[in-house]
């Protein structure tokens, strides 16, 4: 069968449930919100997908956004993770509504800013609103997944015509799976340690379109945007792109972040989570960093061989640096307080993940938020269990459906079966059985011939809560966002500035700066990476000169609890000469002091 046609526009508010928004509805909701709250919101396209769809960003602030510290909020990098889109979208409308009623929120939008990108991967999201509906974590770039010199020739098919791409199981002596004796809905890996032998194959629903003996191994393309960023980017995996930041969605986001140096922190609604439990930290060299980062060696035109050999060397850290740990701990505390989500999120591999790049390469505190998980019955496993999709030469790179996001390749262990049982119980009791398609023999002649049954979880059910729960879940995440944002901002001010001596054209000038915010002027990681610009303190004398002291100091280490950093200058000039102290940093307005030489 040919690839199913995607009929997107018609499914505006249907397949995804009553309140899930398809890409067109996301845009409309944002436009409506901006139209209604024009004084505090504007909407821009930050780039386009390969298919030409715009990626929308709503800026929430009152007036000019420059020199206002900001939090960047992202959703929908993974096409199956619809609840992240809903959370970010609701953040937009709810923050704007609250600002009208709550002076504290209005004040937050006066002094600070939110950049909201609810749907980073509209191409992937469309699959959840198509007929048939399917999970498509990636974008829609054509990729020859099975490397047979044909591209996208064997996608999953809705073989039973129920409108969903689910799973397919069939007896096969080479199969690695068995049907669980206690609950025949569960298909689990055979436990070879117990002498069990596989009896079935488990693949995504569909026929072998290209008759190569593999089922659904090369569907509509796809590079995973949530695995396409440079930190620990995994090469030679067909789902991760030809290079880090190879995709237009990734490039749009990276360039947006790089061009907005007022972004102080990032919140990513997606598969990962580091707010239900604070991440572990490591002591890094940045903890001992001196006041000023080493200037980049060999800047253009610098003397000698101009940084020929280049490089600071070393390796990137793999854990949050110790000095940044407290902010992550505060985030976890606030998340527990405001959202209170239960259970751990399974350990999803984070190669090329957005929040990892934001922190480990750009030095920005980055909070990954899973938003919702189905009941797990166990502490460790709560996400979708095995959902192999395409059958490829290598099971490590299935292209349909969510990757099997587990850290081990162990066969289905007790925990996993237990959590699958818990989810099925939840399906039966809470969802009234609506989340799972009962296994049923296929009628398609080709599939019938191999004894295939079609069934399994409906697309997205294990990622996204029932639509009826969205209102409460998204409201809690708006509470979280409004509470965490102020924790991320430094506020650098002039603590003191005065002449201690000032007569006959010679003056001694003392000044100090202080951080009145809640976050350091630069995170420890930013100091290590040399990304965020230090605080610049500059003294100029109009009509005179500095006779002692440097005209400019750069300060990268300034924490809220630190004592003020102080300098002394001796300046000379005709009486009436203007002395001007300017303090500039990326996360707030300049502070200026002017005085006169007597």
């Amino acid at each position: 069968m040919p690839a199913p046609l995607l009929s997107i526009a018609l499914f505006a508010l249907q397949s995804g449930g009553a309140n899930y928004h398809n890409p067109a509805a996301v845009e409309q909701t944002l436009r409506d919100a901006v139209a209604k709250h024009g004084n505090r919101a504007k909407i821009d396209s930050i780039g386009k997908t390969l298919a030409g769809d715009s990626i929308w960003c709503v800026t929430l602030t009152e007036g000019d956004e420059r020199q206002k510290s900001a939090v960047l909020v992202l959703g929908g990098a993974n096409g199956a993770h619809q609840v992240g889109v809903e959370a970010a979208l609701a953040n937009v409308t709810q923050i704007l509504e609250r600002a009208d009623a709550d002076p504290a929120v209005a004040q937050l939008l006066k002094e600070h800013c939110f950049y909201m990108i609810p749907l980073l991967n509209p191409e992937g999201a469309k699959f959840m609103f198509a007929n048939p509906k399917m999970e498509h974590p990636a974008n829609a770039r054509p990729v020859d997944d099975d490397r047979d010199r044909r591209t996208d020739e064997d996608p999953p098919d809705d073989a039973n015509g129920d409108g969903w791409i689910t799973m397919m199981r069939f007896p096969d002596p080479k199969g690695e799976y068995v049907i669980d004796a206690k609950d025949p809905r569960i298909v689990r890996k055979a436990d070879s340690a117990k002498g069990e032998r596989g009896t079935h194959k488990l693949v995504a629903e569909g026929v072998d379109d290209d008759h190569d003996g593999k089922w659904n191994e090369d569907g509509v393309g796809g590079v995973r945007i949530d695995r396409n960023f440079p930190y620990q980017w995994k090469e030679f995996d067909r789902a991760t792109g030809s290079s880090a930041v190879s995709e237009p969605e990734s490039r749009a986001l990276a360039d947006f972040l790089l061009n907005h140096t007022n972004i102080a922190a990032v919140v990513v609604y997606g598969l990962h989570d580091n707010v239900r439990k604070a991440p572990k930290t490591e002591a890094g060299p940045a903890d001992d960093a001196t006041d000023t980062p080493a200037p980049a060696a060999g800047g253009g035109g610098r003397g000698g061989r101009g940084g020929r050999a280049g490089g600071g060397g070393g390796a990137a850290p793999t854990s949050i640096l110790k000095d940044d740990g407290s902010l992550y701990e505060r985030a976890a505390k606030i998340y527990k307080e405001k959202v209170g989500a239960e259970g751990d999120v399974e350990d999803v591999p984070s190669d090329g993940a957005i929040h990892q790049w934001a922190y480990f390469h750009r030095g920005l505190p980055a909070f990954a938020v899973r938003v919702w998980t189905p009941p797990s019955g166990t502490r460790a496993a709560s996400g979708p269990a095995s959902k192999p999709s395409g059958e490829g030469e290598s099971q490590s790179r299935p292209t349909r459906g969510p990757r099997r996001e587990t850290t081990t390749d162990k066969p289905e262990d007790e925990d996993r079966s237990k959590s699958e049982r818990a989810r099925l119980e939840w399906n039966d009791k809470t969802l009234n059985g609506d989340g799972f398609v009962q296994w049923k023999a296929a009628e398609n002649p080709e599939l019938k011939a191999i004894g295939a049954e079609i069934g399994g979880w409906k697309p997205g059910v294990l990622f996204n809560p029932p639509a009826g729960d969205l209102a409460e879940i998204t409201k809690k995440h708006t509470d979280f966002l409004l509470a965490i944002a102020p924790e991320c901002y430094p506020k650098v001010v002039i603590a003191s500035a005065k002449f201690t001596e000032n007569k006959n054209g010679l003056a001694t000038f003392k000044a100090s700066i202080r951080n009145d915010g809640k976050a350091p002027a630069l995170s420890a990681m930013a100091r290590r990476a040399g990304t965020t610009r230090p605080v610049r303190v500059r003294l100029t004398v109009d009509g005179g000169q500095i006779v002692a002291g440097r005209p400019q100091y750069l300060v990268s280490n300034l924490d809220p609890q630190d004592a003020p950093v102080e300098w002394t200058w001796v300046v000379q000039g005709k009486p009436g000469s203007k002395v001007k102290l300017e303090v500039n940093y990326p996360f707030g307005p300049d502070s200026v002091f002017t005085g006169e030489i007597q």
């Binding site: 090469e235 930041v245 800047g299 035109g301 280049g310 490089g311």
Partner: protein
């Protein structure tokens, strides 16, 4: 008034012509009416000087205009400052489609100051086209392969090096403004040509009895460091420049300030690990334009990216933790490198991380590790060539093939003694260049340091050869690229045979052979599953393919690895090895004509028809 108008127009025309004027026009005028010499070139280019971006682009276009049957030129995109990045394609359309022929990518000058790769590229284009009709080897390779030639990866940097005061080593960067000193201002304090002589020199200040340098009593141009407790009469103040932004530092944030050869996807590392890497892989316009072109031309199977200097033929890996390359590929690199040493006296075949320094995100690393093509960088020009004898100065090469080590262990060379290079350059300046390459120390006033002295080598010394030695350098490097291209795979049909099996069944045997050094798929491409596998197909309207597979024994044709599905379509991830062959065998039912074809990304398609 008319006269003024006419002369103004004339001046305009003359200035336009100036951009394209070369000696050939002069020669043509003088020899009007006479037959040109038998050895005259269609395009005459003076290979004894270097050309700025505009001039170099014009030379490339002249070659293309003179040889329209073999050349075409396209811009693959614009630089940060809006210059076109011109790529010349050399190939013969009469011998097949461009996309189906294996190709060599050649570029130069990724670092703005490393200019001579640009001339080497144009020389290659010029040499191939001028000799196509009279040199059968050239014709053969031009007919069966493709050359993509980009004279400058960094036209902005090239233009800046030619037209702004610079040193032999500055500036490597492109021109996107960059805040190197992290003060929020961009490119606000670059070097300055204080004395206005067009050269960027070294500053020294005379502080009698209070310095740590003195003038060499044997050579007044040379400064010698004095170790305490002795004192000298001078302090050295670094590169010519002033504190433009009043922050107390000099020359701390010049134009650009990054490295376009650290912006490539394979083993890319952020700026805090690899200086100059950019914000993410391919974040700069120039590498992105090149990557788009290269990714769109999967027929590229060899790279040469010219740099200066030091006399090296370099292959990766760029970092010690990157695994050593597969043996089969090393043998290809060894052939190139060791034969290259013969073509390029004073050059040594080396491994980047081991023999030079660590590079993360380099271009040739991407070419091989990311694309599976045989990628090499020549570091053009070694000042050993000044005296045509490096062994007298540094001793013989040690290790490597010369010492009986395996060829995959390139020779290492002893480092030069500390001051020998400078002294040699000074002596050469005096004896061979008539003193023309050194600016003698002279006094100037510096706004921050008061009276100082400036002196040093001019820009076009040290890392580039003197004019009279340029042509030899260009030829030897261009001929090395031709040698690289000659190694590109060429697959031919060695055998097609049909065995009658009875009952309307036939066995069809098909053997293809690779005539050259490079396999159709590098070992790394096969291991990492880069690119598309090669493909062997059989088809015919009157036949059904019952079975098929790749032969596992050259002489026992029935021993095959059977394909489980689609036997008429055999995928070959390993390709055809270096000088090797692959045999396929099919069992077919039916009669009539059968078409057999071999298709590859890196080799021309070959096919055979047989009658059952």
């Amino acid at each position: 008034m008319n006269k003024f108008y006419i002369s103004a127009v004339f001046a305009l025309l003359a200035s336009c012509a100036g951009a394209v004027r070369t000696p050939s026009i002069v020669v043509a005028a003088q020899t009007q009416g006479r037959a040109p010499s038998a050895n005259a070139h269609k395009v005459e280019i003076a290979w004894n000087r270097f050309y700025d971006y505009e001039e170099l682009s014009e030379l490339l276009k002249k070659v293309a205009v003179a040889h329209p049957d073999l050349c075409s030129i396209q811009s693959i995109g614009k630089t940060y400052e809006g210059r076109d990045m011109w790529v010349m394609t050399i190939q013969n359309p009469a011998t097949g489609k461009e996309q189906e022929k294996p190709a060599t990518w050649v570029d130069g000058n990724v670092h703005g100051n490393e200019v001579q790769g640009g001339e080497a590229c144009v020389y290659l284009a010029w040499y191939l086209t001028e000799n196509y009709n009279n040199n059968p080897s050239v014709k053969e390779t031009v007919d069966r392969t493709v050359f993509y030639i980009l004279p400058s990866q960094n036209p902005d940097g090239r233009d800046y090096w030619f037209h702004a005061p610079n040193t032999p080593s500055s500036s490597r960067s492109g021109k996107r403004p960059t805040d190197n000193d992290h003060d929020g201002f961009f490119d606000e304090d670059g070097p300055d040509d204080i004395d206005g002589d067009g050269e960027l020199l070294t500053m020294r200040k005379y502080v009698p009895g209070k310095g740590d340098y003195r003038v060499d009593p044997d050579d007044a141009r040379r400064m010698i460091r004095v170790a305490p407790p002795k004192t000298g009469d001078y302090v050295m103040l670094g590169q010519e420049g002033i504190d433009n932004d009043g922050d107390g530092d000099i020359n701390e944030d010049g134009p650009g300030g990054y490295d376009l050869n650290r912006n490539w996807p394979s083993d890319w590392q952020p700026n805090y690990i690899q200086f100059g890497a950019g914000d993410y892989p391919l974040s700069y316009e120039e590498p992105r334009n090149i990557a788009n072109f290269v990714l769109g031309h999967p027929n590229i199977h060899a790279f040469q990216s010219f740099h200066n200097n030091g006399g090296m033929i370099l292959r990766g890996p760029g970092a010690a933790y990157v695994p050593e390359y597969p043996r089969a590929d090393i043998s290809v690199f060894d052939d190139l490198g060791l034969n290259g040493e013969k073509m390029l006296p004073f050059y040594r075949y080396m491994i980047i991380h081991r023999d030079l320094y660590t590079v993360h995100g380099g271009f040739v690393n991407w070419g091989y590790e990311g694309l599976g093509a045989y990628a090499i960088t020549n570091e053009m020009w070694s000042d050993d060539q000044l005296y045509q004898n490096n062994e007298a100065r540094r001793g013989p090469a040690f290790g490597g093939a010369a010492a009986g080590a395996p060829p995959s262990t390139p020779p290492r060379r002893a480092p030069a003694a500390d001051d020998s290079t400078t002294q040699d350059d000074l002596t050469f300046d005096e004896l061979v260049m008539a003193g023309g390459t050194f600016v003698n120390w002279h006094k100037v006033n510096h706004p921050q340091y008061g009276e100082i002295e400036l002196g040093g080598f001019r820009k076009m010394t040290g890392r580039v050869p003197p004019g009279f030695m340029i042509e030899e350098m260009l030829h030897r490097n261009a001929i090395f690229v031709l040698y690289q291209a000659e190694q590109l795979p060429e697959v031919v049909v060695e055998e097609t045979s049909v065995e009658k099996l009875g009952d309307g069944l036939h066995a069809v045997n098909f053997t293809v052979k690779n005539k050259h050094r490079m396999p159709t798929r590098s070992a790394i491409a096969a291991n990492k599953e880069m690119g598309e596998p090669d493909l062997l197909t059989i088809s015919g309207s009157g036949v059904e393919v019952v079975a098929g597979g790749i032969g596992t024994d050259r002489f026992k044709k029935t021993e095959v690895r059977l394909a489980e599905h689609e036997p008429g379509r055999l995928l070959l991830n390993d390709g055809i090895p270096s000088f090797g062959r692959v045999t396929a065998r099919w069992i077919v039912r039916g009669s009539g004509k059968v078409h057999i074809q071999f298709t590859a990304e890196k080799a021309a398609t070959v096919a055979a028809d047989v009658q059952l």
